[in-house]
């Protein structure tokens, strides 16, 4: 038996039509008045629910995100459209503000919003240098935390395109440490290199020496490593 005090926060089937309606209105409002994005960000979880997007493989919503993560990402895209082609500096400033003043869910929303912008090609080229610089700082902040959901939200398409190789490798290893599936990492095979494989092998050796389990995901980084528990 579940108990909530919000009738539209049902966990079973993702966004409700009330939630979808709210999101459509909020996106339109951001189009009219970009400053309204702060309030919409704060309310999104209550309005669209917090269910995982892929409950079959990701029941905690950490690897592939949640309904409210996706809603906030859509709000970021609406914000980018509202600020327009010359809005790079303004967009960077607003995203930094949303992140700095945001709680964990809002911070995930900013990170996944950066992913959405990266995926649609908005962040390539000279017209996005400010947003990309801000995005790198925010991703670095998220990757320093100990909240799996934030770390997992910082390794998507934006990270794949814009994180430096050292930071990216450490992000991948941190996910293994935290027990979060590497399915969270966009373009894992494209950027995985010998150094990452070396780090993975050394990690596996530490685990074996400690008599502890070597997670299966280590084999995705260093195929020669034996995972699981050794006798």
């Amino acid at each position: 038996m579940t108990e909530t005090t919000r009738p539209d926060a049902r966990p079973a089937d993702g966004a409700t039509s009330d939630g979808e309606r709210w999101l459509a209105e909020a996106r339109a409002a951001v189009g009219q008045d970009p400053a309204s994005v702060s309030r919409a960000f704060a309310l999104a979880g209550r309005k669209v629910g917090r269910a995982p997007l892929r409950p079959d493989v990701d029941p905690a919503g950490i690897v592939h995100g949640t309904v409210d993560d996706a809603a906030r990402a859509a709000l970021v895209v609406a914000l980018a459209d509202a600020l327009g082609a010359d809005g790079d500096a303004a967009l960077g400033a607003r995203l930094a503000d949303l992140y700095q003043h945001g709680d964990t869910a809002e911070r995930r929303g900013v990170l996944r919003g950066l992913d959405a912008l990266a995926e649609r090609g908005s962040l390539a080229g000279e017209g996005a240098t400010s947003v990309v610089a801000v995005g790198r700082d925010l991703a670095a902040d998220a990757l320093r935390t100990n909240d799996q959901s934030l770390v997992a939200a910082a390794v998507g398409p934006f990270a794949a395109a814009h994180l430096d190789q050292h930071a990216w490798r450490h992000a991948v290893l941190k996910l293994v440490f935290m027990g979060v599936s590497l399915d969270a990492v966009a373009g894992l095979d494209d950027r995985a290199d010998d150094e990452l494989a070396r780090m993975a092998r050394d990690f596996a050796a530490e685990r074996r020496a400690a008599g502890r389990v070597v997670p299966d995901d280590v084999a995705r980084l260093a195929p020669d490593v034996t995972t699981g528990r050794t006798a």
Binding site: R6, A9, L43, I62, D103, D147, P215
Partner: protein, 292 residues
């Protein structure tokens, strides 16, 4: 026994306490914003603390299966410190956030003019966003402080059923109930109020609008005082339903007025599992883990 602890300072407590709380039946709690034991010296320190109540502490609680909510305010003691005053300008932004269920702790510490002003201003903030209010009554000169508190609440226009006046004892409970507000009791080892005295108060005044908490913090306190009060109630002849009312339904009703309680079980949490997900799960990389 299902328990909602409506006043507990988890930033001062260890994960042993979270495990013990869950085992005792605590499934949700409210952590009020308060002071840290020594003065904050700037607004930024407050903002980082508020952020940690909404972020790290909510996450930490979820790792142990507990739904964590917070109240936000400039507390009575630091209302007197000019270095902290400007935090009042930042508080309205926090009152919109998920998991913020009241303005609090507000009220009096030594009953100074600065405390008057800060209390009144935050009561108006609560009115503006229609949130309930958690009021701390002073430990010194408590009866006078309670009277003045109720006067200020009445002047503010905040409805009395939106107000929880906490840390009460035998001398001021009637005042608060007669004013139509909720009555809060913090059950400590030895000092202030204990579970047997609490049972006597419940026998005298009934269970309507009665709220019991542990107020466990960095000092000598016991996060399981809610459970112990429940057991003392049963031993004194109260029913299971009475206990459920006082320890769950009453705080849920009071804080439910915010519209921001989240009471469904934490997804993915299994009692007794280590809080580091996946790694110890026989090497499988299938995702486990809990989300705050």
């Amino acid at each position: 026994m299902r328990i909602f602890d409506p006043h507990i300072h988890m930033t001062s407590r260890t994960t042993d306490d979270y495990e013990a709380l869950y085992a005792a039946g605590v499934r949700a709690l409210v952590e009020p914003a308060f002071w840290l034991g020594q003065p904050r010296t700037n607004v930024g320190s407050f903002l980082d603390y508020f952020d940690s109540l909404l972020g790290w502490e909510r996450f930490r609680a979820a790792q142990f299966g507990i739904r964590h909510h917070a109240t936000i305010a400039l507390n009575p003691k630091e209302a007197n410190d000019a270095r902290c005053r400007e935090v009042l300008d930042e508080i309205p932004r926090y009152l919109l956030k998920d998991g913020v269920v009241a303005v609090g702790e507000v009220g009096y510490d030594s009953m100074t003019p600065e405390e008057d002003e800060v209390f009144a201003r935050q009561l108006q903030m609560a009115r503006d966003v229609d949130l309930p209010v958690l009021v701390h009554t002073p430990h010194r000169d408590k009866l006078a402080g309670t009277r003045r508190t109720l006067d200020v609440v009445r002047e503010s226009g905040v409805p009395s059923e939106h107000v929880l006046v906490d840390h009460l004892n035998e001398t001021n409970v009637t005042l608060v109930l007669d004013a139509g507000a909720w009555a809060g009791f913090s059950i400590y080892p030895d000092t202030k109020m204990d579970e047997d005295r609490m049972v006597a108060i419940l026998q005298e005044h009934g269970t309507d609008r009665m709220i019991v908490n542990s107020a466990a913090d960095w000092g000598r306190s016991d996060p399981l005082k809610t459970l112990k009060t429940g057991r003392a109630m049963l031993a004194a002849g109260f029913t299971d339903d009475d206990v459920d009312k006082v320890l769950w339904r009453n705080p849920v009703e009071f804080y439910g007025q915010s519209g921001n309680l989240v009471l469904d079980p934490v997804p993915g949490f299994v009692e007794g599992d280590l809080p580091t997900p996946g790694v110890e799960f026989e090497g499988s990389s299938v995702l486990r883990g809990v989300r705050a």
